[in-house]
């Protein structure tokens, strides 16, 4: 099963860059090879869907703003999560984009093979290349969650 670990975010917008920080650490810890690749992106909607073409499984990592305690890490299903940091006013929502891609026969991960490790952000407004302390301290936990998802074997994957 070919897996893409994709860190999302804008690296100059404080906590918005946490996805990129997490996957940089994942890249060091994980065994990259033909089956697993780690990349970063700063896109949403159609562009994000297009990045996923050709992969069997995708693990996104991104900042989230949902009212939780900053630094909270959780695994979400991007296709059902209501306000996902993957959309843009010039673009479609991720859900629409995935539907479009699948309907045109693109090879995309099935819904149960698409997950997002989301880190609750404290600040996504301020221009800064650093995360806030709460989010910074969440990075190792997020890395663990990603590595945990990667370790799940193909047969067990549907329940991850």
């Amino acid at each position: 099963m070919r897996t893409l670990v994709l860190g999302l975010g804008n690296p100059i917008l404080s906590d918005d860059g946490v996805g990129i920080r997490v996957v940089e650490a994942v890249a060091e810890a994980a065994d990259e090879g033909a089956d697993v690749q780690v990349e970063t992106a700063c896109v949403g909607g159609l562009r994000l869907m297009e990045q996923m073409i050709g992969w069997d499984r995708v693990i996104l990592v991104d900042a989230m703003v949902s009212g939780e305690e900053p630094g909270t890490v959780r695994v979400t299903d991007p296709e059902t999560f209501p306000t996902f940091h993957s959309s843009c006013s010039h673009d479609t929502s991720l859900r629409e984009a995935l539907e479009l891609g699948r309907s045109t026969g693109m090879h995309l991960p099935s819904p149960q093979h698409l997950r997002c490790v989301a880190v609750e952000a404290a600040d996504v407004h301020t221009f800064s290349e650093r995360c806030t302390p709460e989010v910074e301290s969440a990075i190792p936990r997020a890395v663990e969650r990603v590595l945990g998802l990667l370790a799940v074997t193909e047969g067990e994957h549907a329940t991850a």
């Binding site: 999302l8 975010g9 804008n10 690296p11 100059i12 917008l13 918005d16 992106a41 700063c42 896109v43 949403g44 909607g45 159609l46 562009r47 297009e50 900042a63 703003v65 209501p82 306000t83 996902f84 940091h85 959309s87 843009c88 006013s89 010039h90 673009d91 479609t92 929502s93 629409e96 539907e99 479009l100 891609g101 309907s103 045109t104 693109m106 996504v124 407004h125 301020t126 221009f127 800064s128």
Partner: protein, 488 residues
């Protein structure tokens, strides 16, 4: 004065909130769209090397990083007093043409097009690219995705990196193209021209053949007679990469034509007391408020404006499409906001033709794609046409090239006043005093500003594709009387 707010839900202050103010009688007084400003980003850039700007500014937006990248490169040319060799300019313009086709494709089919192709009365669940495909066929989906993929692949090929190019330098670009790359680029360009023609035919069949849509396009509620701005070449034809900035008046005559370096002599900023927003306007004409006409300094910089501000297109098929548009809509200038979508398709075709022209140019594979700067930097201004309007980067540095100040005017900034006017007028046309305000009415207002494809700042966390909205009805004191919401 009561107030209806269309308020996209986001916890981020300043992103795309619309307030509609009503008089005590319930008629629309005015409307205002809050768009985030870039002062925070401009401050962030200070004390950094100016040479970082092509990479830094491409982070402002995940949708048009190429526009910022190329504009920044031009600002650096000016800052370091260096003129890139002809091949460098052609390479940059080729890259830019590819980007324009890709971006306009996305806008028309995924964002603006759905409003049009599905119609404003279509249920919102269908007013998206999936609805468009349902209506016009699965074939479109394949074409759109292929166009985007080809465009993105070539941008990465030339620019060195997907999404955020790593290419522009003061004095040129960091690498050229081989004959093999050139042939690939030209082949994709010819396909892009076909795709451009296809889009215009589609527009003709779906929109122009439908009298209800045509009535909507030309309706007064969606019409604004303002000044128009765009960049033109030496023959006053549309050019996205370089030229002079030309402004035409509501009566179609030329008001001004200037070197982008002189923008501050022609454009001033008006500040509204109720917000931090600044509204650019034409200095010589003056600020008369949010009104149309020859005496009001309000101007627009949109695809339609660019066509209005020029005397034609520089490529043959686009020129035909340009002539057909003006013939159909009654001559120049065209002031119907919704015709912006048509203008976008004309521009798409032009960009594709220009792409082929430049790819076939004998200088395009030249090894001379950079000259080294030797001057001491102090101040630099660069300008391009971004898909959303004229984009200007203005840098000041110390003698080492470290930034001391940055001023960015993005495409949408030019259109602030006009966007508010379009929203107010659309609201006026559909909101009746005393009648209940329903969601359907608000769709019309949203359509009015969506034609401008306004930029909401950073693409990574703006609005989900379905534009969640909150409406707040307020009394004169600002207290909330009523609240409508959708997609929260």
């Amino acid at each position: 004065m009561a107030r209806i707010s269309i308020d996209p839900i986001t916890r981020l202050e300043g992103h795309g909130k619309i307030d509609i103010f009503l008089t005590d009688e319930g008629a629309v007084e005015n409307a205002y769209l809050q768009i985030p400003e870039l002062r925070g980003f401009e401050r962030f850039c200070v004390d950094r090397p100016a040479e970082d700007m092509p990479n830094l500014t491409s982070r402002i937006c995940g949708v048009c990083p190429e526009a910022h990248h190329i504009c920044a490169s031009k600002a650096l040319d000016d800052l370091f007093g260096v003129d890139p060799p002809p091949a460098a300019k052609k390479l940059r313009e080729l890259f830019y043409s590819i980007f324009f086709v890709t971006d306009h494709t996305t806008h028309f089919y995924a964002l603006g097009g759905p409003d049009f192709v599905m119609g404003p009365d279509a249920p919102k669940a269908e007013r998206n690219i999936l609805g468009v495909i349902q209506k016009v066929g699965m074939e479109i989906a394949g074409k759109v995705l292929k166009m985007r993929k080809d465009g993105h692949d070539l941008i990465k090929l030339m620019g060195g990196r997907p999404v955020h190019p790593n290419w522009g330098l003061p004095g040129g670009v960091s690498r050229g193209i081989t004959e093999e790359m050139r042939a690939e680029i030209e082949a994709r360009g010819r396909e892009a021209v076909e795709f451009g023609l296809f889009g215009l035919q589609l527009f003709n069949d779906i929109v122009l053949e439908n009298s209800d849509y045509v009535d909507l396009i030309v309706s007064e509620g969606y019409t604004h007679r303002t000044y128009n701005m765009g960049t033109v070449d030496e023959q006053d034809r549309v050019n996205f990469y370089d030229g002079k900035i030309r402004v035409t008046a509501p009566d179609g005559t030329e008001h001004a034509k200037y070197d982008p370096r002189d923008y501050q002599e022609y454009i001033a900023e008006h500040v509204e007391p109720w917000s931090y927003l600044k509204f650019p306007y034409l200095k010589e004409v003056g600020w008369e408020g949010f009104i149309d006409g020859m005496d009001s300094g309000v101007y627009k910089a949109t695809p339609l404006s660019r066509l209005n501000a020029a005397e034609g297109m520089a490529t043959p098929k686009a020129q035909e499409a340009y002539e057909k548009m003006y013939e159909t809509l009654g001559g120049k200038p065209v002031d119907h906001t919704l015709a912006t979508h048509w203008a976008r398709l004309v521009e798409l075709l032009y960009s594709a033709e220009r792409w082929v022209e430049l790819a076939a140019d004998e200088e395009i594979t030249s090894d001379t794609f950079r000259v080294l700067p030797t001057e001491t930097p102090a101040e630099g201004i660069g300008s391009v046409e971004a898909p959303r309007g004229t984009l200007t980067h203005h840098y000041r540095t110390d003698e080492r090239g470290i930034l001391t100040s940055v001023n960015l005017i993005v495409g949408t900034t030019n259109n602030y006043a006009a966007i508010n006017m379009s929203i107010a007028d659309a609201a006026r046309a559909v909101i009746e005093p005393g009648e209940e305000v329903t969601e359907g009415l608000l769709n019309m207002v949203e359509m009015a500003f969506r034609a401008y494809d306004p930029c909401f700042g950073c693409a990574t966390h703006t609005l989900p594709g379905q534009m969640p909205l909150e409406v707040r009805l307020r009394d004169r004191k600002g207290d909330v009387l009523e609240r409508l919401e959708r997609n929260l």
